[in-house]
Subunit: 364 residues, 2 copies
DNA sequence: TTGTTCATTGCAAAGGTTTTTCTAAGGCTC
DNA sequence: GAGCCTTAGAAAAACCTTTGCAATGAACAA
């Protein structure tokens, strides 16, 4: 290790820069820069000075200043991620966690870091400009609220964007999603195959795209099979934590109650399970339950939840990968905007053939 | 909105810079800089030009270039986060999720962003220098492996560091942790109070600090109460996913089997629950189970898990907060290194008084 | 000897912002 | 009317890296 005479303080005082190295190696900063990066320049360096530089650099453990480099290169090797905030929680559900995990993995293999913007952005497109600081080379937006015009706002600023779980409003923005209709179909076909004919849908909030799409697919399927529409077929559950949800209660205990329930997602399915247990309704004996997402908890419930698996990790990973590709190739060669991944039925323990006659209701 | 003559392309060509604004406002870039930030400079600007600048800036929706600003200010308003990677998953357990969520929240209130470094760092201190690019103002290290010398490596480089869940090896590094001994005590006292005398410990891997500390606390408590040490008191379970874990099987079905089990964390406790169910051991009837962490799934198991709550979100939030304080105050005024938060007993459904006589074993 | 080629390396500019220093001008006091 | 203070704003330096270009010098061919 090469040491200067009065440089003991070096390590904790100033960071070492290119010119520090240059000074000690008796050369200029550009030579050092060229040697320490793969030289894209037409500046060439003799072997003698190259060795000298490498030796000095090794002794000083130099790390390039990412700010200066980013400023010069107009490239930061960093991907931004935008979440929908829920209160003070950015990563408030297991869905986001799985996607983020995938994004991180995808970015990691491409040598990119991840920046979590901590600003809340659902407000207006006015806030979009905040993300076009030059901190990131592109942004992954996870499940954007469609009411919001953030995505057009971002692309309008010339920002590279990739989406996870969203319809694509703007051209040229890769969007990772699954086939919701197919997922619903898988779930309902499964229930049909094991004998269910009275199947209810439980969901919430029509404001977003996927709830609408899944509910539409459900109704379509019901029509296809020639089943009657139930008056209570769709519950917009604001399911209170283990509380008194009257519509849900009615649904599960009514005279013409369904033998199976398809829930918009696993969170809701879990609540249905809890509700059923507290009401003495046995799952899957009296009621079959299918969820959607196959989030981490789905395999931990009792009974384990049958659900439609979204490859969330993979979606995040691919979103990162596509975004990087878009950043690094300046042009949109073989660019496909919409990547629809296949959902998958995961049969666990919460579904079974219905009892032939509705069992007598347990007295609560 | 002020528009120049040939600037329609502005929005999607180049980003607007200070000098763009200066040019249009007929002034210099420094004046613009001074107006658009809280002026710390002694450059002063008349009201007339100030208005002119503000007007032009509003029209061009200017966003400062974070790279340039960071380079100049030597401050990025960004906090780095370092996780222990497990395979390709950075945020592989609910523990990390809760902490990260807290870090993000804490950073957000302080106006900081979060950078997730995607490099794996457990290898050596040599990789520590990679985190002293000037990208972040400080780094939160979550549950560092103590074998690794990364933390000393980081601080040695003059980097500001905060730790979550770690012993503090170096001076001047804030460390957010809980009182493990107290947590163990809470759990065991609870079991004692409801009548348990044969209590086993299930954990794994002594390589990290907290397993050691909790196990030590367990043994100490056993001694204090004058209870005999069990030969099988500590199972180092490499619990295979719903598989054949022989030691665990022996423990749960042996002649002198414990009436209660204290698990190192919730993940293990959940596996014990699964194991018990598949063996026909009823919880809490035949066996009480206590976990540790109170991670999200703890309230979703059947029966719901009694556990020791770690305020993980709060730990993350405080780590971010302390780190920011340390960054913004140059000096270590009233600096306290170690912040020990209080664990809390959360009694749910997995604990109950033991049956007076051991119930006959169910035939598997 | 003179002109040409080639390798080596330093100069300088650029990237956008912040801050210190400095100038110019106007207004005030005596 | 001269000196001085205040104000407004510009020039320039700095932060650190990257890269086009020029300069230097040596070897080499004519």
């Amino acid at each position: 290790m090469w040491r200067g005479s009065h440089n003991q303080v070096m390590s904790l005082g100033k960071r070492t820069t290119l010119s520090d190295i240059a000074e000690r190696a008796q050369t200029s900063t550009m030579a050092v820069s060229v040697v320490l990066n793969g030289a894209r320049s037409n500046t060439r360096v003799s072997d003698a000075t190259r060795q000298r530089i490498l030796q000095v650099a090794a002794g000083l453990n130099y790390t390039p200043n990412a700010m200066a480099r980013g400023l010069k290169r107009q490239r930061t090797n960093t991907l931004g991620v935008l979440f929908n905030w829920a209160g003070s929680h950015a990563i408030h559900n297991l869905y986001s966690v799985a996607v983020l995990d995938g994004i991180v993995a995808g970015a990691a293999t491409a040598g990119y870091h991840i920046l979590l913007y901590t600003q809340k952005w659902h407000t207006a497109a006015a806030s979009a400009s905040a993300f076009s600081d030059q901190r990131t080379d592109g942004v992954v937006v996870v499940a954007p609220n469609e009411q919001s015009d953030v995505v057009p706002g971002l692309t309008g600023l010339g920002l590279k964007v990739a989406l996870v779980s969203s319809v694509t409003p703007t051209e040229g923005v890769p969007c990772l999603t699954i086939d919701n209709r197919e997922g619903v179909r898988l779930a309902l076909d499964h229930l049909w195959d094991i004998g269910h004919r009275r199947i209810a849908y439980i969901g919430h909030g029509w404001s977003r795209h996927s709830p609408r799409e899944r509910y539409d697919a459900y109704r379509e399927w019901i029509d296809e099979r020639g089943l009657p529409h139930r008056s209570d077929e769709a519950i917009l559950a604001d399911l209170t934590p283990d509380g008194e949800d009257a519509p849900l209660h009615d649904l599960l205990t009514g005279e013409d109650r369904p033998t199976a329930v398809f829930a918009f997602n696993d969170d809701i399915a879990v609540k249905v399970l809890e509700h059923a247990r507290s009401r003495g309704v046995s799952v899957p004996g009296d009621l079959s339950v299918v969820g959607f997402d196959d989030v981490l908890v789905a395999s931990l419930t009792v009974p384990k939840l049958t659900t439609i698996r979204q490859p969330l990790f993979e979606m995040g990973r691919q979103a990162a990968k596509r975004l990087v590709a878009r950043i690094e190739k300046s042009d949109t060669d073989d660019f496909i905007a919409r990547h629809v991944l296949a959902p998958e039925l995961v049969v666990r323990e919460s579904t079974a053939p219905p009892r032939h006659e509705p069992s007598p209701l347990p007295t609560p």
